[in-house]
């Protein structure tokens, strides 16, 4: 699976210089050396700090490991058991919905607001701060209480709905709507991609807009011809990372459901199940297998993303 991802990366990341070899040999050797010098901190970190735990967790995924005693090799047992675990399949379904709904909406919100906030409106510092604040506390312990205040039985949302005579309920704890509130919470914390979009917009050289203005382009044409194409590497980055983040979402679902993924497993997203199997129920081998299946899923999606990026992402280099 990683190999496919690699192949896509290969096609998109590199643009080999189309120069006769002999003339550039010395030059490219120097560049090679320089590159590894620039990369040296990362390589040390990769080999010494990142790779060892990753290999160990891969090893643990083939063992029965309860954290308290030495792991026992069980081969593919964990993986085959996962396929027959109804709660695992439930977690997969819940996570798929969560990712598929929240990522596009969150990114659309983030981009729209970044565009609005990138203009010279007065008081923008306040708005940027206000819109970003939720992301600052989105992962705090208080979020469960806050969310209950909004979507609970006596919450603000019900107060609003009651004005229109709509039947109220506890939205956070009804199995039909609990996942929806969780998705809303994720969209609500759109601050991080918004900031990245803002930084991307900042990088677009003014000359392009000046040129567009000379051509008499309106706001829509400016967006289609200038903003969007020049922002595609950043949009691409946000898509890749938000997909990964959404697949790994944990804190909000954990805190709000009290760690259960309830009611009736309706908010049992992947990482919550992984965590409770590993740390609460002492099945770290099983949890590690879950982790590596997730890696494969995310790697596949990222690979597809890289493949598709050839058709819509434009780089300056």
């Amino acid at each position: 699976m990683t190999q496919t991802a690699q192949a896509f990366v290969e096609r998109t990341v590199t643009t080999p210089p189309a120069v006769p070899r002999s003339r550039w040999d010395r030059q490219s050797r120097a560049e090679n050396r320089a590159a590894y010098l620039f990369l040296s901190p990362w390589i040390i970190g990769m080999v010494a700090i990142v790779a060892v735990p990753m290999i160990m967790s891969l090893y643990l995924s083939f063992t029965d490991y309860n954290l308290l005693q030495a792991p026992e090799w069980v081969g593919l047992d964990n993986y085959t058991r996962l396929l027959e675990d109804p709660r695992y399949l439930q977690a997969l379904g819940v996570t798929a919905t969560y990712v598929a709904v929240s990522v596009p909406l969150q990114l659309a919100f983030a981009l729209a607001l970044a565009m609005i906030l990138n203009r010279g409106l007065r008081g923008l510092t306040f708005y940027r701060g206000a819109y970003y604040l939720p992301s600052l506390i989105g992962a705090s312990v208080a979020i469960a209480i806050l969310w209950r205040n909004l979507f609970g039985t006596d919450g603000l949302v019900n107060d609003g709905l009651a004005l229109f005579g709509i039947e109220t309920r506890s939205w956070i704890s009804d199995p039909d709507t609990a996942l929806g509130t969780l998705i809303l919470l994720n969209i609500w914390t759109f601050g991080a991609p918004m900031i990245i979009f803002l930084a991307g917009l900042r990088q677009i050289p003014a000359v392009y807009y000046e040129a567009a203005a000379v051509d008499g382009a309106g706001p829509i044409r400016r967006f289609v011809n200038v903003t969007f194409p020049l922002l595609t590497p950043i949009i691409f980055f946000n898509v890749i990372l938000q997909v990964i983040n959404a697949f790994q979402a944990f804190t909000q679902a954990f805190v709000i459901s009290g760690g259960t993924g309830g009611p009736v497993d309706s908010t049992l997203i992947y990482s919550v199940y992984l965590y409770s199997e590993g740390f609460v129920n002492f099945r770290m081998g099983y949890a590690s297998a879950m982790a590596w299946i997730l890696v494969v899923i995310i790697a596949a999606l990222t690979g597809i993303n890289f493949l598709l990026s050839r058709f819509w992402v434009h780089y300056e280099d």
């Binding site: 308290l68 005693q69 030495a70 209480i145 039985t153 199995p175 009290g258 259960t260 009611p263 009736v264």
Partner: protein
């Protein structure tokens, strides 16, 4: 570059093998060191979870211990919620670096004890002195022929209610030996009086403590010898009782009940939705600070033929780490925290009413009104012949989660009580096989 890389690879391999060896090294606890005589010395680590009051008191008690035994230094490690604490503890045990003295949960001690993580305290008596203790209390956490923890405090499962509201509505407060019929009629009084609360009580069908009381009243129990001792019919009966209350509008709706995540602030009583609530007696103090009017405490309703079946437990134990390098000093600290009058006065009831008779005597005059109410409640339960349900068996947490989940399915009408109960029993058989 190549040579450097390969050196790094070697370094990486070395670290990997080293860490893997560490993994493999965890296992059975160290054997009892030859009992050293002379003054205790060295450095100890102790960890606990709790809120600020417990941190402050425990830190003060540890300072008193260091003053008493000048050769010993105790390093404190504390955190808030149990779950974060447990994550850290499991990780530390995996790395062979857990603290010497560990505050253990009654719900989880079996999981740690049966996997060889905890010391057999039997071999450290003395310095631990349990002569004055009730024999059954000492033996509570016995696993693999060893005492893996000593009960710190006692706690009873209780029915709390908003006494201020009942008084205001002119409804008589429940008698200690009320039964489930009385319970229903009080709830219906509360609801029809139309006071501050929309509902009479939260839904008790998914709580293992309520299930235990119900089973005990019917001549059985939740677990006997760490095996489930209930039938699907018994569970279904309990669920049907609560289903009846729900249909009459006397207890909260399923969506409100499902918002309960075991946290006190999420209970319908604290939220101002229901007048009655089930919780541990030691939460009385905290409930009284969260509910604006007076909170009353009562045993759970008896069966109609007068069976009490009440539940007491030890919410916490003090244990010593199986691989502690200084087990004698660790045992000394455990004894100090459990039995010493000076420590008892400092610690008060921050880990509920002490199990140790010496500690209980030492603080008898210091109890606040809330503490006295808790202590008196424990006496009521003692008279009613309540038996501890702690410690719970190793896979208990799995079972508890399954109970809550299955009951939610029944509440929301996704499955019948009979079908749900059958699934729960199957799950329990699998978990405790």
């Amino acid at each position: 570059m190549d040579r450097q890389l390969s050196r790094r690879q070697i370094l990486g391999t070395g670290l990997f093998l080293g860490s893997a060896a560490l993994l493999a090294a965890c296992g059975s606890p160290a054997p009892r060191a030859s009992s050293s005589s002379g003054k205790p010395s060295g450095t100890l680590r102790m960890s606990w979870w709790g809120a600020d009051d417990r941190h402050e008191r425990t830190q003060a008690a540890l300072a008193a211990f260091e003053e008493r035994y000048p050769g010993v230094t105790v390093k404190a490690e504390f955190t808030g919620d149990f779950q974060g604490y447990a994550d850290k503890l499991s990780t530390q045990i995996a790395g062979n670096s857990a603290p010497d003295v560990i505050q253990m949960s009654g719900q989880f001690i079996a999981a740690y004890a049966t996997r060889g993580a905890l010391l057999d305290l039997n071999q450290y008596m003395p310095p631990i002195d349990v002569a004055a203790w009730d024999k059954a209390a000492v033996a509570e956490a016995t696993y693999d022929d060893g005492v893996r923890g000593l009960s710190v405090g006692r706690d009873g499962y209780a029915c709390f209610y908003d006494k201020g509201e009942l008084d205001a509505l002119g409804i008589a407060t429940p008698a200690p030996d009320w039964n489930w019929d009385d319970f229903e009629s009080i709830l219906s009084d509360v609801v029809s009086a139309g006071g501050k609360y929309r509902y009479g009580c939260s839904d008790g069908g998914g709580r293992y403590e309520v299930l235990t009381v119900f089973l005990r009243q019917n001549g059985s129990d939740l677990f006997i010898d760490d095996k489930p001792a209930f039938t699907a019919d018994q569970v279904a009966d309990l669920w049907d009782y609560w289903g009846g209350l729900r249909e009459k509008g006397l207890i909260v709706t399923p969506d409100i009940q499902a918002a309960w995540t075991k946290a006190l602030d999420a209970t319908p009583l604290v939220q101002g939705l229901a007048a009655f609530e089930f919780a541990s007696s030691s939460t009385l103090l905290n409930l009284r600070s969260l509910v604006p009017s007076e909170v009353g405490i009562n045993p759970l309703p008896y069966s109609t033929d007068g069976e009490a079946g009440q539940v007491v437990r030890s919410p916490m134990y003090f244990s010593a780490y199986g691989r502690s390098k200084n087990p004698d000093a660790a045992a000394l600290l455990i004894d100090f925290l459990l039995n010493d009058p000076e420590a008892a006065e400092i610690l008060g009831t921050t880990r509920s009413i002490p199990t140790s008779p010496e500690a209980r005597d030492a603080i008898a005059d210091l109890l606040t009104d809330d503490d006295k109410a808790s202590a008196a409640y424990l006496d009521v339960l003692d008279e009613a012949g309540a038996v501890p349900i702690s410690p719970l068996p190793a896979a208990f947490n799995d079972f508890d989660a399954a109970l809550i989940r299955t009951y939610q399915e029944v509440m929301f009408g996704r499955t019948s009580s009979k079908e749900g109960a059958k699934r729960l029993v199957d799950e329990a058989d699998r978990l405790f096989a």
